[in-house]
Symmetry: C2
Subunit: 279 residues, 2 copies
Amino acid sequence: MTERSVAQNAELALLLEVAGTPKPGNVDRVREYDDLRFEHFLAGAVGARPGLERAAAGDAIGSAFEHAVEGMSGQSAGNTQFGALLVLSPLVAAAGEDDLSRDGVDAVVRDTTVADAASFYRAFEHVDVAVDDPPDGLEPLDVRRGSDAIPVLESRELTLFDVMESSAEVDGVAAEWASGFDRVFSAAERLRDDSGPVADRASRVFIELLAAEPDTFVVTRQDRATAEEVQRRAQAVLDGDEDVTDLAEELVDRDVNPGTTADLVAGALFVALEQGLVV
Amino acid sequence: MTERSVAQNAELALLLEVAGTPKPGNVDRVREYDDLRFEHFLAGAVGARPGLERAAAGDAIGSAFEHAVEGMSGQSAGNTQFGALLVLSPLVAAAGEDDLSRDGVDAVVRDTTVADAASFYRAFEHVDVAVDDPPDGLEPLDVRRGSDAIPVLESRELTLFDVMESSAEVDGVAAEWASGFDRVFSAAERLRDDSGPVADRASRVFIELLAAEPDTFVVTRQDRATAEEVQRRAQAVLDGDEDVTDLAEELVDRDVNPGTTADLVAGALFVALEQGLVV
């Protein structure tokens, strides 16, 4: 028996995340969309690994992330794990430096450069990612401009950390970047303290995270009211007032997909695996 | 979008195999055993990849296989994909040489050496694999002896191909080694000719293979009568006389696990992916 490498644990975290069921609204082992299936997430995770290996080896975060996204996109459904890779990349880099802690990953993200920001923008050229219109005055930095926005990044000397910090209020993944990945590390603790199959733990921690804050991917694709409804109903599941399977069926039917929360679960699974969680 | 490497396709084949449902008697996306779960197969596939990369790079088959088994065993359930890796290793080697054909893989297995056979025996030291007692007179070559059997292999100058050929009548994977992987290549063709989600195709081709021949893993763990019963009932599913989900539930309850057939499906998925099957 050999120990898994850092990149192997990151890939396994992506696989365990999608294997957790039920995960209301998201693709899981028993629920999928016609054009976004379980198998696309398997192929996305396999494809992402070379980029994750670069992050573990100490390559620049932006370029490792872009490479992971490019590999992830080698399946026919488009975006499967863009957000999860954005969570994982700095965590993997910190683990590669043997410092997978809130402070360690905070140092990694604060060390990012303008070149990292440029790679991040280029990553949007590999897949369609659902994003909101930028706030007034920030149109030149709309991520959908891809590499066309790079001259603006350069003239304003914006690092990837700066870019993330400016989106922290509207994007749950960016909020982690700006806050030392606090929710991810807390969720990793709960995964380790829980018992039973790891995929079941992932499902439970997903519901807890969903009940704690509105999912920003739902805000983007639907609206804030829907995200707040999903949050309330996840809390109702925790309180025993709503059936989790019924909620899962309903959200898939409505195409309400709390993807940001899933991204955080992937990050938490990675941290827990690195900390010794046994599969 | 980047193309997956040979080793990535092999890993993805392992993941797609276990994702196919229903696969009567085997772990799949919705059925698992308490001590052998879906997540163990995910971790097994991730762990196996470095060994698969060695096979693709042209390392000796036996040593690449042993390394893949060692990595696969890095999860808590023991043996998940030993047989599948024994099917995949020569196929991956042939693909690494740009000659993934019946003739190509036949040349690979016929080129194996006594050292490959020694590595194969050592692989049994990494996990418990269910095997039958050897035939009379072959006790010194019982695989359960692990590396203790190596001097016998050496004195008799037995290559890995010789070892496989001698088991071809009682082991479905060995039979593929001895016959140019005929069932695997035929199944790959059916996977490509089929339509719909790849995991569903994997489930269908599993039933077809199961109906065609008794599963030798069932013969080993139960007996020939059970294997023949399973074969008949898989045919009944194809004929529309038996419900596949009911059969899946029943076989899991009885712990009847047609693992050899699953191993062939993993090989067929790999061949189909290499031939351009889109996920």
